[in-house]
């Protein structure tokens, strides 16, 4: 594998709400071997759940489609890894990304969305970058630095 990439996975699944649990469990399993804290693991699970939920209900308007989760684990320093996760959809896209990312902003008021999805992602991950174009889709790129120590040492 190229450079300092330790591991990578790509998961493609149908945009149905059952798969929200699937995506976050796969993400958790992907980093479970790293000896990280339970809190860090839950942070990643929550962020993935938010991004996938967004893709399903906003990107595809709950009418189905394909969501792709790309996760890459890189060795940063000896005792730290960088996890990056991309959640991609080819749905309707976001008109105003900056506005969408504001806390409490929601277009899903009738479905009782709290408008806290992006805020949760930003709170639980170190970096969140959203690239979107109308009718082309959205990519949510998230990074988190995970402190690890080698079990062999």
């Amino acid at each position: 594998m190229e450079g300092n990439v330790i591991n990578k996975i790509k998961l493609e699944f149908e945009a149905v709400s059952e798969n929200e649990a699937l995506a976050r469990v796969v993400a958790a399993a992907f980093i479970a071997g790293l000896n990280i804290t339970v809190d860090e693991l839950e942070d990643v699970k929550t962020a993935v759940s938010e991004a996938v939920t967004n893709a399903i209900i906003h990107g595809y308007k709950e009418c189905g489609g394909t969501v792709i989760m790309d996760a890459v684990l890189k060795r940063e320093r000896k005792e730290a890894c960088l996890l990056s996760i991309d959640i991609c959809d080819t749905g309707v896209g976001i008109e105003d990304v900056e506005r969408a990312m504001q806390p409490m902003f929601t277009t899903g008021l009738e479905n009782e969305r709290s408008g806290m999805g992006f805020s949760f992602m930003e709170a639980f991950m170190d970096k969140v970058i959203v690239t979107s174009s109308l009718n082309m889709g959205t990519v949510v790129h998230m990074e988190k630095c995970l402190k690890v120590y080698d079990k062999r040492q």
């Binding site: 939920t53 479905n111 009782e112 969305r113 709290s114």
Partner: protein, 121 residues
């Protein structure tokens, strides 16, 4: 004979389903107690919302208690459920409580500002 036995089994299963439902949603005085599932996400939210709202309409519930005893995971969909129920009952002077939440969910509720509309016990 077989038909009878099958009917018996189906009836018993329905009984058990009813029982499970009453365990998840109980009304004590004018408090509706909702037992939240192990994982609260968008997938589970619709069912909880529907059942809770039916009980609110049917049984003249004033206050709502969300019991997080079994809950190990919650994302922002959980906040949506709480905010929605709060909107429904607060105009009649009702209150919303969250009980038995673990450390992470308690932190989630406090940092997201939910404690201004609900009481975490």
């Amino acid at each position: 004979m077989l038909v009878l036995f099958l009917t018996f089994l189906i009836l018993r299963r329905e009984d058990r389903q009813m029982e499970a439902k009453t365990r998840e949603y109980a009304i004590i005085d004018n408090y509706l107690c909702i037992k939240m599932p192990a994982e609260v996400d968008h997938h589970k939210a619709a069912g909880i919302r529907e059942c809770a709202d039916k009980m609110i309409l049917d049984d003249k519930v004033k206050n709502i208690v969300f019991d997080f005893e079994d809950t190990t995971f919650m994302d922002s969909s959980g906040l949506g459920i709480i905010i929605g129920r709060y909107r429904k009952i607060s105009c009649f002077g009702g209150k919303v409580y969250a009980v038995n939440a673990n450390e992470r969910i308690t932190r989630l509720l406090t940092t997201s500002g939910m404690t201004s509309i609900i009481e975490v016990l």
